[in-house]
Amino acid sequence: ETAVFQTPNYHVTQVGNEVSFNCKQTLGHDTMYWYKQDSKKLLKIMFSYNNKQLIVNETVPRRFSPQSSDKAHLNLRIKSVEPEDSAVYLCASSPGGSAETLYFGSGTRLTVL
């Protein structure tokens, strides 16, 4: 049963454009995450938010920024996309502050032309 909802499923855009991906979880979890899955299927954490506080921020480019209105929502904005940003972006949530059982959304596939 899906409880982490991502939109859109797919997005195609040109280099230099701004994009925004949405994520909402209905599990009442305290922590949400954004992962990037590259063409080799490797999953790498980008951000995590716990009670609206950024607690993990890997060395991602500054053009990426997470945006949260409450603990159920964590959006991802990419300002001025680059070709290497083409990937699948997966949102996840977990009950607490550490990497407990993760529940993933279905992902947003970004293609940058």
Partner: protein, 110 residues
């Protein structure tokens, strides 16, 4: 992918047979999670493990923190078991973030 090594990288199974996937860790893993990513891309959590074993239906997983490995056994493989299986480890040295392996692609043939 180097800190969490999955094997094999790909596996083809006849329906109804059994198989095992393995993860070796070069970090001091404290917990392990196994996920299945289906062909549509959705990632489903299969197991969350502290050292020990868990079983769920036809799947069984073990995590040995001293020997730094985890296994996932598939019994009586079904077509819907096809997909990519990921293991991920949490380690204090990694700030309790999850480090993922690169996955094992499993294809179950009729």
């Amino acid at each position: 992918g180097d800190k969490v090594k999955q094997s094999p990288s790909a596996l083809s199974l006849q329906e109804g047979t059994n198989s095992a996937l393995r993860c070796n860790f070069s970090i001091a893993a404290t917990t392990v999670q196994w996920f299945l990513q289906n062909p549509r891309g959705s990632l489903m959590n299969l197991f969350y493990l502290v050292p020990g074993t868990k079983e769920n239906g036809r799947l069984k997983s073990a995590f040995d923190s001293k020997e730094s490995y985890s296994t996932l056994h598939i019994r009586d493989a079904q077509l819907e078991d096809s997909g990519t299986y990921f293991c991920a480890a949490e380690a204090n040295s990694a700030g309790n973030k999850l480090t993922f392996g690169i996955g094992t692609r499993v294809l179950v043939r009729p």
